[in-house]
Symmetry: C2
Subunit: 181 residues, 2 copies
Amino acid sequence: MLDKKQFEAARKESLKYFKKAGIILTDEEKNSVEIADFGLSDLYKIGLEVFVYVNTTKVCAKELVMFPGQTCPEHIHPTKNGKSGKEETFRCRWGKVYLYVPGEKNCVPRIEGLEGHKEYLKVAHEVVLNPGEQYTLLPDTWHWFRAGEEGAVVSEFSTTSTDDQDVFTDPRINRFTKIKE
Amino acid sequence: MLDKKQFEAARKESLKYFKKAGIILTDEEKNSVEIADFGLSDLYKIGLEVFVYVNTTKVCAKELVMFPGQTCPEHIHPTKNGKSGKEETFRCRWGKVYLYVPGEKNCVPRIEGLEGHKEYLKVAHEVVLNPGEQYTLLPDTWHWFRAGEEGAVVSEFSTTSTDDQDVFTDPRINRFTKIKE
């Protein structure tokens, strides 16, 4: 759980990355950047900073900021009651991101420093995304990703986001950040 | 109709705008920027430079470059055979864009210099988009847009693009650019 001060510091820090990537947000938007610690209270290791441009019944577009070495834990967007899970394309805009998907293990996954969590990171086919590189994930595909040592800014183009339906391999995770009052 | 030299010059010119907006394309992508003159052979007045990041059966994301004062002519993405037309969100990244949609006329539309075409520009409710500002269009909504005097770079987040089904008010228009050999 983050306290208000930590939450505000992370939001402020995230804005530096939007700026580095040349992405302009309005003042109102800057106050709407979501800070996700996935309930693990170790934001700078496991977390994500998200700005949602649009999320309609059909289409979603977001910008993801990742702090240096920050990990977005392994999850899927499941098909449910006949409704297809989220299809998403990640496009790296700034920095570097290591994306892990199902397939032949082709690397030593970057799990260092993730004690207590790394045992939940199962898929190990690495796709490295530098600025201008992208990858499309079909629904129901397990994936996790970690920023390089400078951090990363990643655009996500997808079908509707329904974050409450995401399924994580780490059973401790709660997708929605609680702020300590 | 553009000749090869004009086509290549326009593509090269468009890359300057991607750069101004801080948008990184790979070398391969730079060679795939679409130059659309809408068959009117007056590209710098009526045209669009487009890079498609992704266009699946569900989702599309593009970057639009507009040269100074360039106009994208009035059109709709129609619902056809029960399949909903394209829903799209425009987000200005750089420069300025004047978007015209149905609704109360609230401006003098920027039609100067568009002799022979301006009579086809009907909708006149103006939405001005500066960097960081965006607007979502539902399917079957007539719209046209024109860049400000510096040009513009605009992200488009949408459902699947099916450009061949677009309907234009100017009957002379052909969505697909022909290159003179």
